[in-house]
């Protein structure tokens, strides 16, 4: 960490109409370090990255690359200067081979024709440098997301990379994949590449970072060595008030309410679908939270989709409210009073171009049918009511939902189902990609709803979250339910052991 930084910003500012996205941001990135940028949604992380990579032009201040002032008009210019960026979604072509993806646009040629031999050899060599070995002639989509990400990294760093920017690369990876990605990053770090890392996961931040820069409201809140910054302090810096520390500790000591014997709202006996999920017994009681814990691919989402009729079961029986029921489609589930906030909010949840109002009333209107239209006035009332009650931050109810931050989108989806007055909600990773404050708010809503008699199936890859709020926890492994434990009688460690395959 000696010498001058490879990438530096001095007094960097950027405004969009009505928003000061960046205000006098000083930021330094050194060779051979992994530097994590943290902040809530809307803190200015993305804007900073966009300015550094030439997506947006800054209004004031300077960017220095290797000591020289630079200004990038397009992402291509930034790339040519050695700044490579990987966004949340893998931006490669899934239908092309690994090697083609790595060399697309700069194929080595021999006598006017593409030199496949060299491409394959060089692709393999580049991946081998990251300790990844795979068949580079196979199409990219035959590999899991994590491997695709490695390919993207290999492509990014294969020619003269000086700075590698990773924007939430881990949001769709499971723990072992994250570990693998981190190995690759450590390797890159040794070869003197500067790495800028953006994530919402606190644990990951500490596992990988040398330094942490915290941003809030477009300003730089401070730069810290990771080892000198306790997690509570980090969170309070991000949120901006010290009370958060208190809040965190209280949440941890709060035991979930004791279980009482209530007849279950929904009961699944041996419900499964071949190739999707092995037969599983699950029941959700009114006024209780059933947590589903397990690794990515353990069948959490699949179980949720079976419960919602999004995946049609080919085995087992189901009772709802004590009566036998069959769910052929989500529509059947909605009719029984079940709501589902899916894991992939963007693809399966929000209808991006529609307004907040329309997104909120969509499920209710779907239930009423096309003929019994809810009047505009009533729609506004419902929307404004939930915007107020759930604390949705938006200009007004007519704003398209696609323009909201992740946390607010999630609240709108919650409102969508609450408007149908459901008896049970399935929340699949409701807090993914959401900043800490919004996370707590959503968890609070869940507990409050639950106290009013709503049954909740809660899925999260953060075991601590599941343990904290659930009355009961079902543990899944390899598409089987392996255990069910009471929430107040278990610890995080115990759940981890169950997930890993140990005994109760």
């Amino acid at each position: 960490m000696t010498g001058s930084p490879i990438l530096e910003t001095i007094g960097l500012s950027k405004s969009f109409p009505g928003v000061k996205a960046l205000q006098k941001v000083d930021f330094r990135l050194y060779k051979g370090e992994i530097h994590t940028l943290m902040g809530q949604n809307g803190a200015g992380k993305s804007t900073l990255i966009n300015v550094l990579t030439g997506v947006h032009e800054h209004d004031a201040g300077e960017i220095l690359l290797g000591g020289q002032p630079v200004k990038f008009a397009t992402p291509l210019e930034a790339e040519a200067a050695g700044i490579r960026t990987l966004y949340q979604e893998v931006n490669l072509c899934p239908n092309l081979s690994v090697a083609e993806n790595m060399f697309a646009g700069r194929q080595p040629k021999r006598r006017g024709a593409i030199d496949w031999k060299t491409i394959h050899a060089r692709a393999e060599a580049a991946l081998a440098e990251l300790n990844v070995s795979l068949d580079v002639t196979k199409s990219l989509d035959t590999y899991p997301i994590a491997v695709q990400q490695m390919v993207a990294i290999a492509r990014a760093v294969s020619v003269d990379a000086r700075v590698l920017i990773l924007d939430e690369p881990t949001s769709s990876l499971d723990d072992s994949e994250v570990a693998r990605l981190f190995d690759v990053l450590r390797k890159l770090k040794q070869s003197d590449i500067a790495i800028l890392f953006v994530t919402h996961f606190l644990e990951q931040t500490y596992a990988i970072s040398d330094r942490i820069t915290v941003m809030r409201n477009g300003e730089c809140e401070g730069e810290y060595l990771a080892k000198d910054l306790p997690v509570e302090l980090l969170v309070s810096k991000m949120v901006g008030h010290e009370r958060m520390t208190e809040r965190l500790q209280r949440a941890e000591s709060e035991p979930p309410a004791p279980m009482t014997a209530v007849p279950p709202f929904i009961e699944m006996h041996g419900v499964g679908r071949r190739g999707v999920m092995n037969p599983v017994d699950i029941d959700v009681q009114p006024g209780q939270i059933l947590g589903l814990a397990g690794l990515l691919g353990s069948g959490r989402t699949e179980t949720a989709r079976l419960l919602f009729g999004a995946e049609r079961a080919d085995a087992g029986t189901m009772t709802i409210d004590g009566r036998a029921a069959k769910l052929h489609s989500p529509r059947d589930a909605v009719r029984h009073g079940i709501g589902y906030c899916p894991e992939d909010r963007k693809k399966e949840g929000i209808v991006a171009d529609l307004s907040i109002r329309e997104n909120i009333i969509l499920a209710l209107q779907a239930r009423l049918g096309w003929w019994r239209s809810i009047s505009k006035k009533k729609q506004r009332e419902i929307a404004d009511d939930y915007i107020g009650r759930l604390g949705i931050t938006a200009r007004d109810a007519e704003q398209p939902i696609g323009l909201l931050s992740g946390g607010n989108q999630q609240k709108v989806l919650l409102a969508r189902w609450l408007a149908t007055e459901p008896k049970m909600l399935i929340l699949d990773e409701p807090t993914r990609g959401i900043d800490v404050a919004a996370k707590f708010e959503i968890m609070d809503r869940m507990l409050a709803l639950c106290a009013k008699g709503l049954g909740i199936l809660f899925i999260s890859s953060e075991v601590s979250e599941v343990v904290r709020v659930s009355h009961r926890i079902a543990v899944l492994r390899d598409r089987y339910k392996v255990a069910e434990v009471a929430g107040n009688a278990t610890s995080e460690d115990q759940v981890y052991r169950l997930i890993a395959g140990g005994n109760q």
């Binding site: 949840g349 209808v351 171009d353």
Partner: protein, 345 residues
């Protein structure tokens, strides 16, 4: 200037502007272009003529708008126009007084054709362009079978009244088209169908997960498209007093798609504008009228039409406009200032 700029932001601004420009062009050639005269209690004049001739296209485009809003496309409407006309003509050829039966037969055939498309797209899961391509090709065949490969003349006065008669001073077909527009607008705005269709067009997966029967709605939309095409077929065959399996509604599907896009509805689905579509159809018909009236030689009309459409489409595309404006600024401002690049969103 600011008001002007804000007005240009309105989605209907560009189609309106195009239509106004076309009318102005006509006025420079013929100062009486907009004047109407009364003859035998009927209105006559170029605008009435354009409205009358645009009626079938407007109707077909209404159905097309909804189909496109669900991310689909229906290229079989031209063939359905031909089938509907042929069905009516064969019945009338046997009994010129069976107007009611002829109309019902034409409409039924159109609805069936639409249902066929709907089943293929919504329930079989075929890609819309392929599914409707089948009927586009087969439909012409069906129409030719019905007419026996001949042009069947229609002489039934009752039937001819629908597409050629006058009602309260206006051509009957204009009334039919206006009813079509009003009913569609009512369906989209007074019921929740408009919302559902937009939601399906924007995010079909999410729409299914809120418990909507997207399949049924998509099916309904194609059926509706078949119905509007059948009505257009009745108007067209009545207007030309014959049913021609080969040429009735030929390439009408392309004009309809063009009308929808000119009206500002994206082919990617989602947002749609019925008013825009109607304007789009009127633009196309006015353009055809203009090319004839300003004396473009018949062999050049298609080229002129294509050129105008190209210009209009480029001007309507926000992306193309940004690029154009940037280049113009560079050319004029030269060294004075950096071009202001819009946020790339």
């Amino acid at each position: 200037m600011r008001v002007f700029k804000a007005a240009l932001q309105h989605p209907l601004a560009w189609p309106c502007l195009t239509l106004v420009l076309l009318v102005l062009l006509d006025l420079t050639h013929n100062a009486n272009f907009l004047s109407l005269s009364m003859l035998d209690g009927h209105l006559f004049g170029a605008p009435i003529d354009i409205l009358n001739r645009a009626a079938p296209l407007v109707l077909v485009s209404l159905g097309m708008t909804l189909v496109i809003a669900t991310r689909g496309i229906d290229i079989s409407v031209g063939a359905v126009v031909a089938i509907a006309g042929a069905a009516a003509a064969t019945i009338l050829a046997d009994d010129p007084h069976a107007v009611g039966e002829a109309l019902i037969a034409a409409l039924t055939v159109g609805v069936l054709a639409g249902m066929w498309n709907g089943v293929l797209v919504a329930f079989v899961g075929m890609q819309p362009i392929i599914a409707t391509l089948i009927l586009m090709v087969a439909g012409r065949g069906v129409a030719q079978l019905l007419t026996g490969g001949q042009i069947i003349p229609i002489g039934s006065p009752g039937y001819l009244f629908v597409g050629g008669g006058y009602l309260a001073r206006m051509p009957c077909s204009v009334w039919v088209a206006m009813c079509g527009i009003a009913l569609t607008a009512l369906l989209m705005n007074r019921t929740a169908l408009g919302l559902f269709i937009r939601a399906i067009g924007i995010n079909p997966v999410a729409t299914r997960l809120v418990g909507l029967r997207s399949g049924a709605i998509v099916f309904g939309v194609y059926t509706f498209s078949g119905l509007t095409a059948a009505i257009a077929g009745i108007l067209a065959s009545s207007n030309v007093r014959s049913a021609d399996g080969n040429n009735a509604g030929l390439l009408l599907e392309l004009d309809a798609i063009l009308a929808v896009t000119l009206g500002g509805t994206s082919l990617l689905g989602g947002r749609f504008s019925l008013a825009g579509t109607v304007l789009g159809a009127l633009i196309i018909q006015t353009l055809t009228y203009t090319t004839y009236s300003i004396g473009v030689p018949p062999e050049a009309t298609l080229v002129v039409k294509a050129a105008v459409v190209l210009v209009v489409s480029v001007v309507q595309s926000a992306t193309a406009r940004t690029v154009l404006v940037r280049h113009l600024r560079r050319a004029f401002a030269g060294v004075s200032k950096r071009p202001i690049t819009e946020a790339a969103k």
